[in-house]
Symmetry: C2
Subunit: 333 residues, 2 copies
């Protein structure tokens, strides 16, 4: 028997999630049964999309249930194995985060070949957020020569990878983020034009100043005023990869939609929502490219790391307060 | 010398165009010069997109100039020719409507082989509006088997063709229009579910009732509440062909954008604006299909015809009051 603590959904948030929407509980784990492994998580991933699973509504992933532990990406170490495919010491990836340890069928976890990267990189740059950037920019937005690229939430886990892939492919990149620390990070990773949206009264004007000829690609993570500004700045045949709209996830009233969406007609803009899990066929090429780019020093990453399972709800709230730079993680191991 | 009257833009409309934004002027036409023809227009086309050209702003077509005659699609008859390529009696198509007659280089008009159709059909079902429907539905929305199709302004020149092409290809079609006469027309052309939006307090609810499993394609002519309802009703991977948003062309304040645009992410909706003139490569297949469908009786059309050049401004205003069914034309000849 070993003890694990886990984070459960205590109540569904209304608007901005609050600490009291979560509770920490202890569970006893028996030894793993036949075909099972016991894993102690090293890091758990904290992602904005999880907010959607806290609503009780149909979506592309089922809602979290009250009283049940939350789920999220995690990397961990096998501590006991009752299955020949895995052994103690193996590093594995799973969707069984938000808990310190768990027993699961061996098939529910994936053994991780870290290629010399720290295992938590597979929750960020080399994992779902990195692949989201890759798919959204290259496939959905269909990046092509000469494109000027605008990225919102550009200092986030996804946005910062979008910026760097566009840069290493030779594009002009405009990144928006809030505050000095994030904008400094964007300059560090080579973003050509950095917009501090918190210090910018008029995003449309700010975009027009740095991209007087307009933008061809918009990587949408934020929604609201960012989307309106992108529509205003778009050149004919611009492509918008709609990855997320974090400004609206906690809305209690219907948010204000883009008043200028009519521009999409005359400018022939394509706006397309996407979810990375529809594009797992691209995983091999993503892993090939990303490991090469990391190896050559063209791709860098940042993590914001909080420690211990008790910190997980707070780490989640940071996403919506814009308090993370790069990948938001909780270190458990 | 012959006399022609023409419609000129007297002032730029603010909000809904008014009769006083237009003036009728008489001009004297000399005999056609070398290489020129003189054409007497039979019908001129009245189209919503012209409203955009009345603003002084850059767009995919240049703005109309104050004091200059308006331009629009027209079919006419050559009354005198000074070019070997055309002779008196030839029926020609041009962008030189909004006038009774004109002289122009022979190359500025296209001789029309009407294939037994009335010439004004080439301003509607067999012309730009028909091809807009064809391109938008088949190419932009990429109609595929099993799709449920929702069409706004479904009784209009474009919408009514979208509905019928979708029907003849075996799809379930939902059409929205305002008033008894239009909804009767939609039933006549085989639309499965007809929504009278003027009599419907909640479009989202109305759509959910007729399409409980949702829609796969939305052909957007209206904007505003229609777009919001379509986003609510959309199934995963729905495609929206953004053809126009007539509810917003006369807005004097920024219109209210779709508050639920965030749904495009999770549902992976593709929304794409288009302009038919980018797709003229499809003209031969359009003409082949449309003449076959007309010949087999699968494609019907309606016209709303006002008479005489003096009626042209009023005919244009009817578009925004929803007073036309099918193609709005002015008969000049």
């Amino acid at each position: 028997m070993t003890t694990s603590r886990e984070v459960r959904l205590k109540s569904r948030p209304e608007g901005m999630p609050q600490p009291e929407n979560f509770e920490i509980a202890s569970v006893q784990l028996p030894d793993p049964g036949a075909g099972e492994v016991q894993v102690r998580n090293l890091f758990m991933s904290v992602d904005p999309y999880m907010r959607g699973r806290m609503y009780d509504r149909p979506s592309y992933v089922p809602p979290f249930q009250i009283g049940e532990p939350l789920q999220g990406g995690a990397v961990g170490e096998v501590v006991a194995s009752n299955d020949p495919s895995l052994k103690a010491g193996d590093i594995v990836q799973s969707m069984l985060g938000w808990r310190e340890a768990f027993n699961a069928p061996a098939a529910a976890v994936q053994k991780l070949d870290t290629h010399g990267l720290p295992p938590q990189a597979f929750l960020g740059i080399a994992g779902m957020p990195g692949m989201t950037a890759y798919v959204g920019l290259l496939k959905i937005a269909a990046l092509k020569e000469g494109d000027v690229v605008f990225v919102s939430a550009a200092a986030g886990a996804v946005g910062s990878v979008v910026c760097q892939i566009a840069k290493l492919k030779g594009h002009t990149v405009i990144g928006s983020a809030g505050g000095d620390e994030k904008t400094a990070f964007l300059r560090e990773i080579g973003v050509d034009h950095v917009i501090d949206y918190k210090a910018t009264p008029d995003l449309t004007k700010a975009l027009a100043e740095v991209a007087p000829k307009g933008i061809d690609v918009y990587f949408e993570n934020v929604g609201g005023e960012h989307l309106e500004a992108a529509l205003n700045a778009a050149r004919p045949f611009a492509r918008f990869a709609l990855c997320g709209m974090i400004s609206q996830y906690n809305a209690t009233e219907p948010p204000v939609g883009p008043s200028n969406i009519m521009l999409a007609v005359g400018k022939r803009i394509r706006m397309e929502g996407f979810i990375v899990s529809d594009h797992f066929a691209m995983l091999p090429e993503f892993l090939r490219d990303v490991s090469q780019w990391i190896g050559s020093g063209q791709l860098k990453w940042r993590e914001t790391v909080d420690e211990g399972i008790d910190a997980a709800p707070g780490a989640f709230l940071k996403l919506f307060k814009g308090e993370n730079i790069g990948k938001m993680l909780v270190k458990l191991g």
